[in-house]
C-alpha cells in the first residue's frame, strides 16, 4: 500500500536524489570553508571563553574540607 501511495506522487524519485545532492554540497562547502580559515582568527576564537577580564579566586577549585 505504501508503495502505491509513494508512486502516486509525481516525480517522487527526485526527492532522494535532491537529498543526497544537498547533503554532499553542504558538507563539501563546510569542509572547504573551515580549511580556508586563518590561524590567527582560530586562535582568537578559541581564546574567547578563557578571556580573563573577570578575576576570581575560585578558578583553581581547591578541594575544601567536608
Amino acid at each position: 500500500m505504501e508503495q502505491k501511495v509513494i508512486c502516486g506522487i509525481e516525480g517522487v524519485g527526485i526527492y532522494g536524489v535532491i537529498s543526497i545532492l544537498i547533503c554532499f554540497t553542504f558538507f563539501t562547502g563546510t569542509f572547504l570553508w573551515v580549511i580556508c580559515l586563518k590561524k590567527n582568527y582560530l586562535k582568537h576564537m578559541e581564546a574567547l571563553p578563557l578571556d580573563g577580564s573577570e578575576k576570581n579566586s575560585t578558578d583553581k577549585n581547591q578541594p575544601t574540607k567536608l
Binding site: Y15, L37, P49, D51, N61, P63
Partner: protein, 713 residues
C-alpha cells in the same frame, strides 16, 4: 583606547540555577513515582491525578522543560554575557522570561495531573499554555539576539551559534506542531490527522531532543568545558563542522520514530539514512570535547566539575551512536515500543543533560557567591552515586527492552507465538523494572547531596549580584587588517542577522523536504470506504483515553511483521487514521497494542478490567481506574468537541452537535449498558466507562470484513 565599564547580571543566573535544582528534584521524584507504579501499580494510591498515564508526561515535561530548560537558561545567561562582553539586552525581558517560564511549569504541573493533555509527546500542554510558551520563547529570543547585537566582542563564539539555532528552531517546531483547534479552554484537537499528524509530531519530538536537549547543551559544553579545564577547545574548525553538520542533519531524522508504521516507506528510509549520517558531526563534537582535556587529565581526577563533564560528553557520544543504530530499520524492529528506547533516552538525559547541568551548577555557585565549593568531597560522592544510579537505571532497562523485543517475536517450532499472552512478556521484566527504580533513587539521592552542597556554598559566601568588568566597544566595521584577508566566514559570523537567516535556512531544508511530500500524500492516502468518523460517544471515549494517558503504555499501530499480525491482527493502514485528530499510535508498550481491540472482548470484560485489571488479567501491572465507573462523562462539552473536529476536517453534518449527536450518543450508551447487563454488570449510561468501552470496541473494526457488534460474547 576607549574602554567602557559595565556589569554582568548574576541575579538572573542565580534565579535560573535555583529553579534548575528545585524542578530537577520535582521532576525526578515524579519519575521515580512513575517507575515504582510500573511494578507496584497501587503506588498511585488509587488517585487519578497521580496515576502513571497522567504523571508520565508530567515527568518528561518536568525534566525536559523545567530541569534542563532552566539549566540551559542558567548557562546561556551566564556565558552569553561573557562571550558578548555585554550585559543582557534587557533586565525586564530577562525577568519576564524567568517568571513566564516558571509560570508555564507550574501550569503544566497543575494541568497534566488533571488530565488536560493533547497527548502529543513532549507537546502535551493545552493550547493556552502553548501560546504562553510561544510568548515567553519570543521574549528569550529577543533578549538573546538583542544581547548579540549590542556585544563588544566582534566575533560570535561557536557557543552562541548553538544558542541561536536553539532559539529559532524550537520556535519553528513549537508553532508547527501546536496547530490545534480549541474545543474549550483546556481541550483541543490537532489540525493534522493520522499519518500527517504522526510525521509532524515526530519531526517535532525528535527535534525537541535535538534542539532543546542537545544543541543548547553543546553550546554550553563549548563554553564551560574549556573554561573549567582552562584550555582552549581542541579544534575550533571541528566545532564549526559540528555545528553546521548537526543543525543541518538533525532536522531530517524525525521519521526514525515511525519505522515500520503506516508512514510511507520513503519518509522512513530518509529518516534512517540521515540518522546514520548524524554519527559524523555528533562524534566530531564528542571528540572535540574530550580532546580539549588532553594534557589536563590529572585535573579531572581532582575536580568534580570536570568529572561530571567527562561523563556527560561520553554519554553524549554513546547516545548519539546508539540513536543512529536504533534508527536502522532491522534494529528498530526489535527495539521500538520496548524499554530499549527508555534506556536510550535516559542514558542521554541522565548522563548528558543531567551531568552537564550538575557540572555547571558546581562551576557557577562558587563564582556567583565568591567563595569555594563547600565540599569537594561531597561533590565527588555525588559523582559516584550519580554514575552508579545511571548504571543501575539503564543496564536493567536495556535487558528488559531486549527481552521484551525478543519475546514478542519468538515463535515455537510449530510456527505459533511462543508467548501469545502479552502479560508473560511483562511479568518477565518486572525484576528489571524494580532494579531501575533503585537506580533512579540513587541518582536522586545524588541530586539531594548536590542541593545541600550548593546551599552550604551559598551560605558560606556572599552573593555578587553584578560583576563589574571593562571592555572596549566593538569596532563599527569589520576590519580586514587584524587577521589578514577578510574571509567569508568571518564576515558571516560578524553579521548575526545574516548568520541567523542562514541557520534557519539550514534547518528548514530538511523540514521542507520531509513535510511537503507528506502534504502530497494527503491527497493520495487511499480512502477506505468503510472508515467513518467516530460516533459522539466514541469521541468522548477517545478523549477519556487521551485524558488518562493510555497511549503511554498502549500503542495503536500494528507493524507489518508476522509476530505482530499473529498477535494483534491485520497490520495498520494509513487510510484507517484519516479521522484521528490527534493520532494515538503511541511509542511504548507496557500493555498490548490496541489497534484491533474492538470486538476482542465483551463489554463486561472491559468494565471489570478497568475496575481492577488483575481480576481479568492476573499479574497485570496496569493501574486500576475505578473513577471511570463513577465519574459522569462530559456531555456539556460535546457540541464544542464535535464542531472543533468538523473544523479540522471530520465530516460531521452541520448542526449535528445540536441534538442529533446527543440522541445518537444516548442510543449507543443504552446499548452498551444492555450488553453490560448480559455480563452481570449494572452500569449507568452517563458514566465515563461507557464512553471508553464504546471507543475501545470501535478500535480497528472499520476494516474488518464482518461487521463487529459490541454485544457480549
Amino acid at each position: 583606547m576607549n574602554v567602557e565599564t559595565f556589569k554582568y547580571d548574576n541575579r538572573i543566573v542565580r534565579a535560573f540555577a535555583i529553579a534548575t535544582v528545585v524542578w530537577g528534584i520535582v521532576g525526578m521524584l515524579v519519575g521515580l513515582l512513575a517507575a515504582v507504579q510500573l511494578f507496584f501499580p497501587d503506588a498511585n494510591l488509587n488517585l487519578q491525578f497521580i496515576t502513571f498515564g497522567r504523571i508520565r508526561p508530567l515527568h518528561t515535561n518536568a525534566v525536559i522543560f523545567a530541569f534542563v530548560g532552566n539549566g540551559m537558561f542558567m548557562g546561556i545567561y551566564y556565558s552569553l554575557q561573557r562571550l558578548c562582553k555585554a550585559r543582557m539586552f534587557s533586565d525586564f525581558i530577562s525577568w519576564f522570561h524567568f517568571w513566564g517560564w516558571q509560570s508555564i511549569i507550574v501550569s503544566a504541573a497543575l494541568t497534566l495531573p488533571l488530565g488536560f493533555t493533547t497527548s502529543k509527546e513532549y507537546a502535551e500542554l493545552e493550547w493556552p499554555i502553548k501560546i504562553a510558551i510561544a510568548v515567553v520563547w519570543v521574549a528569550f529570543t529577543v533578549n538573546l539576539i538583542g544581547t548579540i547585537l549590542k556585544r563588544r566582542e566582534k566575533h560570535m563564539y561557536v557557543a552562541i551559534w548553538f544558542y541561536l539555532a536553539t532559539a529559532l528552531t524550537v520556535a519553528v517546531l513549537h508553532v508547527t506542531n501546536s496547530m490545534t483547534m480549541p474545543a474549550g479552554w483546556f481541550k483541543s484537537y490537532s489540525m493534522y490527522a493520522g499519518v500527517q499528524d504522526a510525521l509532524v509530531q515526530w519531526w517535532y519530538g525528535h527535534n525537541a531532543v535535538a534542539f532543546f536537549l542537545t544543541t543548547p547543551y553543546l553550546g554550553l559544553m563549548y563554553y564551560f568545558l574549556p573554561k573549567a579545564a582552562n584550555r582552549p577547545v581542541f579544534s575550533y574548525r571541528l566545532s564549526i563542522i559540528h555545528f553546521w553538520g548537526l543543525i543541518f542533519l538533525y532536522i531530517w531524522a524525525g521519521p526514525h520514530h515511525l519505522l515500520y508504521t503506516a508512514l510511507p516507506d520513503w519518509a522512513q528510509s530518509l529518516g534512517m539514512v540521515f540518522s546514520l549520517m548524524l554519527i559524523a558531526p555528533s562524534w566530531g563534537g564528542m571528540l572535540n570535547g574530550l580532546l580539549t582535556l588532553r594534557g589536563v587529565w590529572d585535573k579531572v581526577r581532582q575536580d568534580p566539575v570536570l568529572k561530571f563533564m567527562v561523563v556527560a560528553v561520553t554519554a553524549y557520544g554513546m547516545a548519539t551512536l546508539e540513536g543512529p543504530v536504533m534508527a536502522i530499520k532491522t534494529v528498530n524492529s526489535l527495539s521500538h515500543y520496548t524499554d530499549w528506547t527508555v534506556a536510550h533516552a535516559h542514558s542521554g538525559a541522565l548522563g548528558w543533560n543531567g551531568f552537564l547541568t550538575f557540572s555547571m551548577l558546581y562551576f557557577l555557585f562558587p563564582r556567583l557567591y565568591k567563595t569555594q565549593l563547600w565540599s569537594t568531597k561531597l561533590a565527588n560522592y555525588h559523582f559516584w552515586i550519580g554514575l552508579l544510579g545511571i548504571m543501575f537505571y539503564i543496564i536493567p532497562i536495556y535487558v528488559a527492552g531486549i527481552t521484551e523485543g525478543l519475546m514478542w517475536k519468538q515463535f515455537n517450532k510449530d510456527g505459533f507465538l511462543q508467548y501469545p499472552n502479552f502479560l508473560e512478556t511483562i511479568v518477565q521484566i518486572v525484576p528489571m523494572l524494580r532494579l531501575r527504580a533503585i537506580g533512579g533513587t540513587l541518582y536522586l539521592v545524588g541530586v539531594f547531596m548536590m542541593a545541600y552542597n550548593l546551599y552550604r556554598t551559598a551560605k558560606a559566601g556572599e552573593f555578587e549580584p553584578d560583576t563589574e568588568v571593562q571592555a572596549a566597544p566593538m569596532e563599527k566595521t569589520v576590519s580586514a587588517g587584524a587577521h589578514g584577508k577578510l574571509s567569508w566566514h568571518r564576515m558571516l559570523e560578524g553579521k548575526p542577522m545574516l548568520f541567523t537567516v542562514l541557520a534557519v535556512v539550514a534547518i528548514l531544508i530538511g523540514g521542507i523536504v520531509e513535510i511537503i511530500p507528506m502534504y502530497l500524500v494527503r491527497e493520495n492516502v487511499p480512502t477506505i470506504a468503510s472508515v467513518h468518523p467516530y460516533t459522539p460517544l466514541e469521541v468522548l471515549g477517545r478523549d477519556i483515553y487521551i485524558r488518562e494517558g493510555c497511549l503511554g503504555c498502549h500503542s495503536q499501530m500494528i507493524r507489518p511483521f508476522r509476530s505482530e499480525t499473529e498477535r494483534y491482527g491485520e497490520y495498520s493502514k494509513a487510510g484507517e487514521f484519516v479521522y484521528d485528530h490527534p493520532f494515538l499510535w503511541g511509542s511504548e508498550r507496557k500493555g498490548p497494542d490496541l489497534a484491533r481491540e474492538g470486538g476482542r472482548y465483551p463489554d463486561a470484560w472491559h468494565y471489570n478490567h478497568m475496575d481492577d485489571p488483575r481480576s481479568t488479567s492476573p499479574g497485570s501491572i496496569m493501574p486500576r481506574y475505578p473513577w471511570l465507573l463513577t465519574q459522569k462523562m462530559e456531555m456539556d462539552s460535546l457540541p464544542w468537541r464535535l464542531s472543533a473536529l468538523r473544523r479540522v476536517g471530520v465530516p460531521y453534518p452541520a448542526g449535528y452537535e445540536n441534538g442529533p449527536a446527543q440522541k445518537d450518543l444516548q442510543a449507543q450508551a443504552e446499548k452498551i449498558v444492555a450488553n453490560l447487563k448480559l455480563g452481570s454488570v449494572n452500569a449507568e449510561p452517563d458514566k465515563d466507562i461507557v464512553a471508553l468501552i464504546a471507543y475501545l470496541q470501535r478500535l480497528g473494526t472499520d476494516i474488518k470484513n464482518a461487521p463487529v457488534t459490541t454485544a457480549a460474547k
